[in-house]
Amino acid sequence: MADEKVVAKIREILAQFAAEDVEQDQDIFATGLVNSLFAMQLVLSLEGEFNFEVADEDLDINNFNSVNALVGFVEKKTSA
């Protein structure tokens, strides 16, 4: 089960730059909630909050496109 603190932090980030009430598996990018600045806002937020660097090899939409995807990505990066 996903760490609830990680889920909460991810939701906080999304609320700040995209939308507050997204479903766990909802495709953030397909909903049209995000603008052209969101990608870099998300990268900087993840790096600042969880203390890791998003690298070029991490650029896979499956790492970013939903709350569940982001939680999985964070857990992968922070356990490495």
Binding site: F17, E20, S36, L37, M40, V43, L44, D56
Partner: protein, 392 residues
């Protein structure tokens, strides 16, 4: 936020000002007439480390802090908006590679871009695509040995002199970023002349006809070329333009104050006339506001705070709109003299107008800022309701 410059920042500012006043300001009008920048100037900027200002030191860059880099942009902008353009696009490509380039791309390009051995340009805008930037029409098809690019780019700053271009193209229908070298077969550059402003920024059209590049020239990953690669580049570009507008505004104010102090009409210097004072007050105040926005953007950049992205957008928006008005008023104060090529203020006005269009037009910034503000407001309201409910 500490808004006082440190001793090191002040020293750097003096260095930048001395360079700009000696190497750029006396020649900026001539560069504007020639519609070109001399290679000797570019070499000097390279030797001074300005072209690699934001490149990490491990790649030979000066690795300037955000405020220090802003001060460089300000001093260059005070002398020439076209030279700011050169600094901007070189930095945009450096920033994109430093952030999202592979280890090999960084090793190959960053040291050479930092020194000025190679010059770069950013290829996003097209004849049919401006603000709708993620829908570029240039296409890249992946094959076994590389990508084949077809398409056209337009209004590419420093396109006439760049050695390498960061091109955004659709690959499998997804925006992707590619490095294309000037000598690549099928790639050609067509100079653009007669622009309203930024005349010595050496703009170009780029044409790609079955232009073949190796697989390793993809920057980042397919589908991330606009959101992430261009995203990093454009944030840097907005930041440069914001500070560059600050410098341009200061050049305008200097000119306006000089002229108002010496030109006499109705038996008194212009500075004594209240309607002139009104224009001076507006430009002084708005420039101070621009400075604070620039400092705040720099402060957030140095912290890596995600709020920097929106703050930089706001800074670029305010700075460019302000300087367009400031340059207009400066020319108005100069009257017919301001319309003459004997004074630089007509160049300031022409360049200021361009600042409202590049790196995201005024209207695009307005849409982004308004939507962001609405989202923040809605979020704050919900949080306030939750707090009230908890306290009840």
């Amino acid at each position: 936020m500490d808004i006082e410059l440190s001793a090191e920042q002040r020293l750097a500012q003096e260095e930048f000002r001395d360079f700009a006043q000696a190497e750029i300001a006396p020649f900026a009008d001539q560069y504007d007439r020639d519609e070109a920048l001399p290679s000797a100037l570019i070499k000097k900027m390279g030797a001074a480390g300005y072209l690699g200002a934001v490149v990490p030191s491990e790649y030979g860059g000066r690795n300037m802090g955000a405020i220090e880099f802003g001060l460089l942009c300000e001093e260059i902008g005070r002398s020439s908006a076209s030279v700011i353009s050169l600094l901007t696009v070189q930095g945009m490509v450096c920033q994109a590679l430093a952030r999202w380039g592979s280890a090999a791309q960084k090793e190959q390009w960053l040291p050479r871009l930092a020194s000025g051995e190679k010059m770069a340009a950013f290829g996003l805008t097209e004849p049919n695509i401006g603000s709708d930037a993620s829908n570029v029409e240039t296409a890249a098809v992946e094959g076994e040995e590389g990508f084949i690019l077809n398409g056209h780019k337009q209004w590419i700053s420093c396109g006439q002199l760049a050695d390498v271009f960061l091109i955004i193209a659709q690959c499998e229908g997804k925006p992707s970023a590619f490095l294309v070298e000037r000598e690549c077969p099928g790639f050609s550059v067509e100079p653009i002349t007669g622009m309203l402003g930024f005349r010595s920024a050496m703009l170009a059209k780029l044409h790609m006809e079955d232009c073949a590049i190796p697989l390793e020239n993809l920057v980042g990953r397919v589908g991330f070329g606009f959101s992430h690669v261009a995203g990093a580049a454009l944030d840097h570009g907005r930041y440069c333009v914001g500070w560059g507008c600050l410098g341009l505004a200061e050049a305008c104010i200097d000119a306006a104050l000089d002229y108002a102090g010496t030109r006499k009409q109705f038996g008194a210097p212009l500075k004594n006339h209240q309607l002139i004072q009104q224009m001076l007050a507006e430009m002084i105040t708005n420039t101070k506001a621009t400075r604070l926005l620039c400092y705040h953007s720099g402060f957030l950049k140095e912290k890596g705070d995600p709020a920097l992205i929106m703050e930089t957008s706001i800074t670029k928006y305010f700075a460019s709109r302000s300087v367009a008005k400031i340059a207009d008023d400066t020319l108005q104060i100069h009257g017919a003299n301001g319309c003459s090529s004997e004074y630089p203020v007509q160049r300031y006005l022409r360049d200021a107008k361009i600042m409202e269009i590049i790196e995201g037009s005024t209207q695009i910034q307005q849409i982004i800022i308004a939507k962001s503000g609405l989202m923040e407001h809605a979020l704050e309201r919900r949080r306030a309701r939750k707090r009230q409910a908890q306290n009840a």
